[in-house]
Amino acid sequence: MKKIQTPLTKEILSTLEVGEKILLSGVIYTGRDAAHKRLIKSLEDNKNAPFQLEGQLIYYVGPTPTPEGAIIGSAGPTTSYRMDEFTPTLLDKGILGTVGKGKRSDYVIESIKNNGAVYFAAVGGTAALMAECVKKCEVIAYEDLGTEAIRRLEVEDMPLIVAVSSKGEDYYKLGRKNYLEMKSR
């Protein structure tokens, strides 16, 4: 399995094939519905984002509270389509990867392709396993949003699947198509 390190580069992402399984390590940032709304608003108001966007990756997750002695609570991906309206803006500003689950809109796929970015899927619901890949966790913005606050995570070997490649290929369409073709043979 290919190992990928953040910050991401277009060169590395261009080598990833749709459907490929990878292990991701390095610093990533969390954000879901409310954080995205606030982040986009601050960009519109010409304020700085709470973290440098270039080459970074946003993981759509709202973890459970952190148990005593643990690094983070359960931390599986949330459904990505709710972030679709914000994604092209963030990709245009330098974000190169997003992690979630479920299909993206055609305009998001177009933007991923235009920006040479990638959309990774994590297996929805596998929150206990995903949490084990998190080695460090720190809230860096929007603390009042609780589980939706932006967190800076350091992850090691987080298992992901390339759901939309930098070429704009969509594994949600291809994986199913390939399966149905195999079945009909």
Partner: protein, 280 residues
Amino acid sequence: MREVHVRLITDEVERMCIHSNKHLSKDVVTCLEKMKDEETWPSAKDILELIIQNAETASNTHVPMCQDTGLVVVFLEVGQEVQFKGGYIEDAINEGVRRGYDKGQLRKSVVRDPLTRENTGDNTPCIIHHKIVKGDKVKLTVIPKGFGSENMSRIYMLKPSQGVQGVIESVLETVEIAGPNPCPPIVVGVGIGGTFEKAALLAKKALIRPLGSSNEDSYYAQLEETILNKVNDLGIGPQGFGGKTTALKVHIETAPTHIAGLPVAINIGCHAYRHMEVTI
């Protein structure tokens, strides 16, 4: 009259909120394992294996199996010979949720107002459905319902002439539109009949049945099998990446309805099919 102190209800709700979020029940694990063995598509098999591993890890380490620990739905069946004492029953249930989500370190996902969206901070209020039944027992069922799957649920007001074919098409359309979003393999709760709101409630009720229990009516038990096969022929597969295992089970619940109508509601449950019940 049999007196039941509401403290008992609080304690049971607290226990079930915590337990159901951390331990996938045996009926679900058995079903997942069987479906994994039957799955022929390699990537689908891998994903099912990960899902089973996740449930084991959650259970062994006492962390929630999914970060979406849900909005709690409680079905409360009260025997008409029961007298509650010590407080108001709905307050007692909400107190159980509050304590469970606090002690269990579960995610608080409830907002006070659907538009202004301020988090209530304790995962209350929960949704409570009451039913008065015969006898002197109290039956409590707790489902922490995740919204990845809840968001993909739909209701149809069909014409009576559309009949069983219309029901099948409605379910298939719902599952198709949902695609990967509700975290397949899913459990499909189908409510047929009643009124607009009754159908939705039946669909939710279908989701509290032990996984794989059949409808008592053999016609509907057969229809559950038929729809399950058709859903799995869609090829959506675990997580939507292709495969046979799109749904673990289809459960149907029905009720009498009006000569002019055929309400059909489809409530989708994710593979983290959490449900627990206790009779006091």
